[in-house]
């Protein structure tokens, strides 16, 4: 395998593979994407894969998600069918007291062009007759939807390969240094060199950052999902916490635990999630659970994406975020603009690693 590249992207999850794909579109750079495991083995392969916008706050963060969601139909024309469906998103609330908050959300989001409706119980039930009558109302927006994450990442990679990008899987990065102005990436399979470097390690961003002597302030937050047997299509929207896949399976879950990189499923959370399923959709009580999985969310300490150049490391870049599925088409586009030396379509200043007070060189 060739040893020298224009760009090395570390990480082939949804964020890394989108960046690699978008960089490869211009066909003017030699690109290598390196992954310690195989695409989908980490965060990107264990998700409900909502393309979710409407209650991401503050509004400027919602706006970023909206732009990315808008890119999905364009992306599909380029890389193929990723089963993106704009189903509309429903986020139910169970107490009448939340209606006021819902109305304020709708007002704030309208300022950036995200249309959010606040529904009454009857309006919710008209859209989704299977939801519980104990729901007081919901926020709703047409912009939300979901995608098949397995197809999405596979097609990013297939399209990038077609454009000449190279991939190296099951190949952990062990060290990164700079030699004569080039990055030297030491992997299990040997050394690779590049002019530019992108860290897209998701939940492993912290340990990748350490190789460069920087602190990447992210947390690992486990989420556990319960999956039912295939059922006839009866949920047509993406519901906050519940969605029905194309094949009829219903995926349920919204748990959060900070337990490090521990991918086990635990009976307590599985049981709690089963209760949540019945709270949302009472008819689910009678259906069979076939399997469970868990995934590790990448959660920057303030919740917002870390995106852009790495302070103090020339030609070094980072992309680490929660909501990578929703944000990947936009992040791939913006990072390509940045690495090509152009002005980015959206100002990335607010997403810079610089914003964290805790940022200090630990090298």
């Amino acid at each position: 395998m060739k040893k020298s590249y224009d760009v090395i992207v570390v990480g082939s999850g949804v964020v890394g593979s989108s960046i690699t794909y978008h960089l490869s579109e211009e066909r003017n750079k030699e690109i290598l994407s390196i992954d310690k495991d195989f695409p989908l083995s980490g965060t990107s392969g264990s998700t409900q894969a909502w393309v979710w916008v409407h209650n991401k706050t503050p509004a400027w963060y919602g706006e970023l998600n909206m732009y990315s969601a808008e890119l999905y139909s364009f992306l599909e024309r380029k890389i193929g069918d990723v089963e993106y469906k704009r189903t509309g998103g429903i986020a139910p609330f169970f107490s009448e007291a939340d209606r006021e908050k819902a109305l304020r959300l709708a007002e704030k989001q309208a300022e950036v062009g995200i249309k959010v409706e606040v529904l009454s119980r009857d309006e919710v039930l008209e859209k989704e007759p299977s939801l519980s009558r104990s729901i007081a109302g919901a926020t709703y927006s047409k912009i939300d939807g979901n995608v098949n994450p397995f197809r999405l990442i596979e097609l990013y990679i297939r399209a990038a390969r077609k454009n000449g990008a190279k991939f190296s899987f099951y190949n952990p990065v062990m060290d990164i240094t700079k030699e004569n102005g080039l990055f030297k990436v030491t992997t299990q399979d040997g050394d690779y060199f590049s002019n530019q470097l992108v860290l897209a390690g998701g939940p492993w961003s912290k340990s990748l950052g350490k190789l460069l002597g920087i602190d990447v302030p992210i947390k690992q937050v486990r989420g556990q999902i319960v999956v039912t047997e295939p059922l006839r299509p009866f949920l047509s929207h993406t519901i906050g916490g519940v969605r029905q896949a194309d094949n009829g399976e219903v995926l349920i879950g919204y748990s959060k635990e900070e337990v490090g990189y521990d991918l086990r499923s635990t009976l307590d959370i599985v049981q709690d999630t089963a209760r949540m399923a019945i709270d949302f959709v009472p008819a689910l009580e009678k259906v069979n659970v076939v399997r469970c999985f868990s995934g590790i969310r990448v959660m920057p300490e303030d919740g917002f994406p870390i995106l852009g150049g790495i302070p103090g490391i020339e030609k070094g870049y980072i992309a680490a975020m929660h909501s990578g599925i929703t944000l990947s088409p936009l992040v791939g586009t913006l990072m390509t603009e940045l690495l090509s030396g152009g002005e980015t379509s959206i100002d990335l200043e607010r997403y810079s690693l610089n914003r964290f007070d805790s940022l200090q060189s630990i090298g």
Partner: protein, 111 residues
């Protein structure tokens, strides 16, 4: 046995589909599962696990004992949602609770 021989009966995945995933670079049962759905059905890989490991070994030359089996998870068999739920109320937070107002802490942990 030809390429159309079914390996995963639950999801009807044949040898050809398993080999395509290996050609894409997959080397473990779980990595093939996510590309093909092999092992995601009701038997939870009880039938196909060793067949797939054997195909990986045959195609890549990697010894069978080095090919990791998938992680075992609850429930080990198909289980009714109601049986898992028991009778307590759920403490899992709703997504709506994430929408914060200016000044509030975002992504507050409630669990």
């Amino acid at each position: 046995m030809d390429k159309s021989t079914i390996v995963c009966r639950c999801e009807e995945i044949n040898i050809d589909e398993i080999e395509s995933a290996i050609n894409l670079g997959a080397r473990t049962f779980n990595d093939i599962k996510r590309l093909t759905r092999c092992g995601m059905g009701p038997c939870q890989a009880k039938c196909c696990m060793n067949l797939v490991r054997q195909i990986i070994s045959d195609k890549t030359g990697q010894p069978l004992h080095e090919i990791r089996p998938p992680r075992m998870r609850v429930p080990l068999g198909v289980t009714r949602m109601g049986a898992l739920a028991g009778s307590q109320a759920s403490s899992v937070t709703s997504v709506f609770g994430e929408s914060t107002e200016e000044g509030e802490t975002v992504h507050e942990e409630k669990l």
